[in-house]
Symmetry: C2
Subunit: 345 residues, 2 copies
DNA sequence: CACCGGTACGAAAGCGCTTACGAAAGCGCT
DNA sequence: AGCGCTTTCGTAAGCGCTTTCGTACCGGTG
């Protein structure tokens, strides 16, 4: 919108510095072919005048777009907003701008967002959040992104392995196993799982970890109630209600993320079921509020902020032949929502 | 970054539709001077080919930048991420992109962010979050924004009244009053306040509301402990610790936002002080997790998502001569963190 | 039938920047 | 002194779009 106005252009800076437009451009871009003396003069004049390049002109002319597009499932979910916080930290340091797009947990919309970012020629795209088990969905996204990379775009994903690009990967399976082992170690056997949308790979992976831990004790996940519902607080509430109704003797609930765990806790509170005395509950992610719930939630910590930082840092590095993968640590955080199983009345 | 590549340009669409570049541009922009027949043909071809305009070229050529810059104090604070959610909803509907900038609660950095967005020529700027009581800070921000408006930029602010632009304003004072009245009504007299950064107008306004309610009962805020600390969970913890140490007979704590309330609850839990039996606690904002805390937090609800939506909608409307103000509703939500005062041992 | 106002379209001029490409100047060498 | 090389800088050609201006053509009028 802003009309041309009397805005400062690169020519103005160049004039004031007594050099040509081209030289000024080179000097500010830090390319060589400019003597250090001239370069520093240009930089200083630019500083004094408070010059800021017009990014539209810059990008149009073939320079790098300094915008990073971040695609998340849901902006107001703490898991994603903590990741966004990390991305924004790095972006701020490098003078990049972050555009956040919301896919609303709809793979179709997500693909549209990605395509739109590409068409917009943002310089970097980061896709955060679980992949989908539907191979078609993943193939479409992969195709769009590798096309984009071929044109020089930078990409990194978080928590998604099937996209053929640099990825930051938490070990969801190990996390699930740790969680289940913790409960098994406390003596729980009647364990139920409040799982998120079945279509998500993250759900499948965490579930696989749970299954592995159970097998270690000679148990089979198939014998336990696994209720799939939305990967949100609301979904957690719904899942807990079903678990309580259909499997009243359950002594522990594994929620596959903290949002669901919060829903589970809320249902338990509503039904006046004491946690951890009558029911142990665990979550996954350790979003920052998890510590402040009552009882404090036992969960597996993922370093979301770092994950965001790592993803952007990876995307910024020179592209390598084959996709890099960095796995994040994870760590069981035991708080007050779990306790040894107690003999029931 | 993306190299020119074989991307679809407007010329391509124009050619395929058998019209000139200029006509195609007009047709897609919906300006008149194009027959409906030609216009719909162009639109259809564009659709078929999946054409997306290059926003850099478009903006450079003087079209409206379709980016909205959203400046918030802290991205990973639920208060702001819920606002962001609302902004993004509207932006998505209109095909706008949202750039979120993080000021880190530093007025200097905030001003830099605003200036940067202006220099970038984003079409719309939304500034969310409390203003500062320092007149210089507000004057600088106001100057930058009105300059921007003079050049055709659209602006709206949320929760800030001194910037001379369209604003969405919650009634912080009334909210503070309602909160204090609720506690007074429950018989509390030894009330402490966990207040945020003194430099923030929001803190001052909410405090003024509390003071007004107290006056209604013949009490004076100056006689009560008001502990200023960061407007965050961490700040809430610190404030609660000081309150407990210095005023052990306190029976109720007013936290001036939910983040602080969560910190307060966390400290109380650590010190094994039962809420609401031995201490009532109230917050402000009703962020979505407030309902899931234990005990459920009594607080004043602000419609954050709507506020984000309203702000963008206002900014999008044709500019009016004088700044518009829309006030938001607020509503006391009583949950389980407050109870009648009980005689102390 | 010449004339005019209006509408539908095309040609071309930028927007502010990056980046070939080429010119000029400095250097060491023969 | 003359040659080729490198370094430093200026000239100019776009990037893909919007928009001004001008042209062609329409129907209706005198």
């Amino acid at each position: 919108m802003p009309k041309p106005g009397p805005r400062l252009r690169l020519v103005d800076v160049a004039e004031r510095a007594g050099v040509s437009l081209a030289t000024a451009s080179r000097a500010l871009a830090g390319r060589d072919g400019v003597s250090e003396e001239v370069a520093s003069r240009v930089r200083q004049v630019s500083q004094e005048l408070g010059y800021v390049a017009n990014p539209y002109a810059r990008t149009l002319a073939g320079g790098a777009s300094s915008t990073v597009g971040l695609v998340v499932h849901q902006v107001d979910d703490p898991y994603f907003s903590e990741i966004a916080g990390g991305v924004i930290q790095i972006a701020d340091e490098r003078g990049l701008l972050v555009q956040i797009c919301h896919s609303g947990r709809d793979p179709g919309h997500e693909l549209r967002q990605i395509r739109h970012l590409i068409a917009q020629r943002v310089g970097i795209i980061i896709v955060a959040g679980s992949g989908y088990r539907d191979a078609r969905v993943e193939a479409d996204a992969k195709a769009a992104l590798s096309d984009y990379q071929r044109q020089g775009g930078r990409v990194a994903v978080i928590g998604r392995h099937s996209l053929g690009v640099d990825a930051v990967l938490p070990d969801n399976e190990a996390g699930g196993r740790v969680l289940a082992e913790h409960l098994l170690g406390l003596g729980h056997r009647r364990i139920a799982v409040a799982a998120g949308d079945e279509a998500l790979t993250t759900v499948a992976d965490r579930l696989a970890g749970v299954a592995a831990a159970l097998r270690g004790q000679g148990l089979d996940l198939a014998d336990l109630p696994v209720v799939h519902s939305a990967f949100t607080r609301e979904g957690g509430r719904a899942a807990a209600e079903r678990i309580l109704a259909e499997h009243p003797r359950t002594t522990a609930i594994i929620a596959l993320n903290d949002a669901m765990a919060m829903g589970v806790l809320s249902t338990l509170r509503a039904q006046r079921i004491a946690v951890p005395e009558r029911m142990s509950v665990v979550g996954f992610d350790d979003v920052s509020v998890a510590a402040d719930l009552a009882p404090g939630l036992t969960t597996v910590r993922l370093p979301m902020t770092d994950m965001g930082r790592m993803a952007l840092a990876m995307a910024l590095k020179p592209v390598s032949a084959r996709p890099r993968r960095r796995s994040t640590g994870h760590q069981l955080v035991v708080r007050d929502s779990t306790a040894p199983v107690t003999p029931r009345a």
